[in-house]
């Protein structure tokens, strides 16, 4: 009975202009326009939405959770952190 084999599309939802688009889930659709329509019906049927993005799942390039070395910090990077400095915020009188 299997008659189609559609792609999945990852859906990114923006609540209002200026907000980031956040990943909310995926839909199953034959093309990007249909994916957008299904994403609207699925993820924007109640709450406010100003914009949706869909991206074919197979087009997403991702890091590997199994590879801890990718994000490893080999040297001390504390100098990048404001909390690492003792200098007072306010100027001395």
């Amino acid at each position: 009975m299997t008659d189609t084999q559609w792609s999945t599309w990852e859906v990114f939802h923006q609540t209002k202009r200026g907000d980031p688009h956040e990943h909310v889930g995926s839909v199953h659709a034959p093309d990007p326009q249909m994916a957008l329509q299904l994403a609207r019906d699925q993820f924007a049927r109640r709450l406010k939405c100003s914009s949706l993005w869909v991206v074919r799942t197979s087009d997403i390039v991702m890091t590997d959770y199994q590879d801890p070395t990718f994000f490893a910090q080999t040297t001390d990077k504390s100098y990048r952190d404001p909390k690492a400095f003792d200098a007072p915020e306010k100027r001395h009188p």
Binding site: T2, W6, T8, S26, P30, M34, R46, D64
Partner: protein, 306 residues
């Protein structure tokens, strides 16, 4: 980490589960974890899809425009929940088409409750109130699932289900405050749905073949018995507050345990109903097959156009 042995991978995986980490689609996972999730999530998806039918039947006859709009929205939500769950199962490598085939061929199981008839409007109210309360208790637990996409789908679904419970309770409340005939209809619906709803949380853990692994890997975090007890403790006072009766003479609050005692449903009936031999299984699948066939040209047209 490709050189890790299978045993080391399993130890690492279980340590992650024990730390409360979420497992994501690309992660290594034991095959039994993947298969258990595919089975649970696809059954859950099928339940949402078939779950549209017992109530959908009442859309043309809903008493009043507001209740009609509400019921349409609720049934649309069920379709949406099915889609969210199919998407979560797809993230494990199972195709939508394979799941659909399993449902339509009768191979797949789905929730027992949707194989019972809805002869009265009161059934719509009682399904929203009782069945969806039991569903939300189960789904709130599943929102904590160790599999990230399942938990996230559950959180979205629970938010919408809370509206389903409220509208069902409101419909029953209207009948409980109505004429003697309306109160009787509400009571009869409760009588019809009480035991099927108790069965919905699944067989006792001693009879459940999948519970042990599902708990160990935190696919679910509570046993069937715990979920059922939570439902009974929650719903019995609500039913009585409306002046209605729980159809179980032995159902009573036990101060020693802090829980309600209740009579176990007929577990043989549950087995029959989920294995295709309930009162409405054939009717439900016939409707789904017809919809699938009649929608074929749409799928084919979309395929050609894309």
């Amino acid at each position: 980490m490709a050189e890790m042995s299978e045993a080391a991978r399993l130890t690492d995986f279980e340590a992650r589960i024990d730390r409360g980490e979420k497992i994501e689609p690309g992660d290594w996972m034991p095959d039994a974890y993947r298969q258990n999730l595919i089975r649970m999530i696809s059954q859950h998806a099928h339940s949402e899809i078939v779950g549209q039918l017992p109530e959908g039947k009442w859309i043309p006859y809903a008493p009043g425009f507001r209740r009609k709009l509400t019921l349409i929205a609720k049934v649309q939500d069920e379709a949406g929940h099915g889609q969210l769950l199919y998407a979560a199962a797809e993230s494990l490598g199972k195709t939508r088409e394979a799941m659909m085939d399993e449902l339509l061929s009768g191979k797949a199981k789905y929730a027992n409750v949707f194989n019972y008839p809805t002869p009265h409007w009161a059934d719509v109210g009682v399904i929203g109130w009782l069945v969806d309360t039991a569903a939300v208790i189960n789904q709130t637990m599943l929102a904590q699932s160790s599999y990230g996409p399942y938990g996230r789908a559950m959180r979205r679904i629970c938010y919408e289900e809370s509206f389903h419970i409220k509208q069902g309770y409101d419909a029953v409340l209207a009948m409980a405050r109505g004429t003697a005939a309306q109160r009787l209809a509400a009571q009869e619906a409760i009588d019809r749905w009480w035991y099927p709803t108790l069965m919905m949380s699944g067989p006792p853990d001693s009879m459940s073949t999948h519970s042990r692994l599902a708990l160990r890997w935190r696919i679910k975090t509570k046993s069937n018995e715990q979920v059922r007890q939570e439902f009974v403790d929650h719903i019995v006072p609500q039913i009585r507050a409306l002046g209605l009766t729980v159809p179980d003479a032995d159902c009573a609050f036990d101060a020693a345990t802090g829980h309600h005692r209740y009579t176990q449903p007929d577990w043989e009936e549950l087995k029959r109903v989920v294995s295709g031999h309930g009162p409405c299984n054939q009717e439900r699948l016939a409707v789904r097959r017809k919809a699938h066939e009649e929608g074929r040209w749409v799928r084919e047209a979309l395929q050609v156009a894309s």
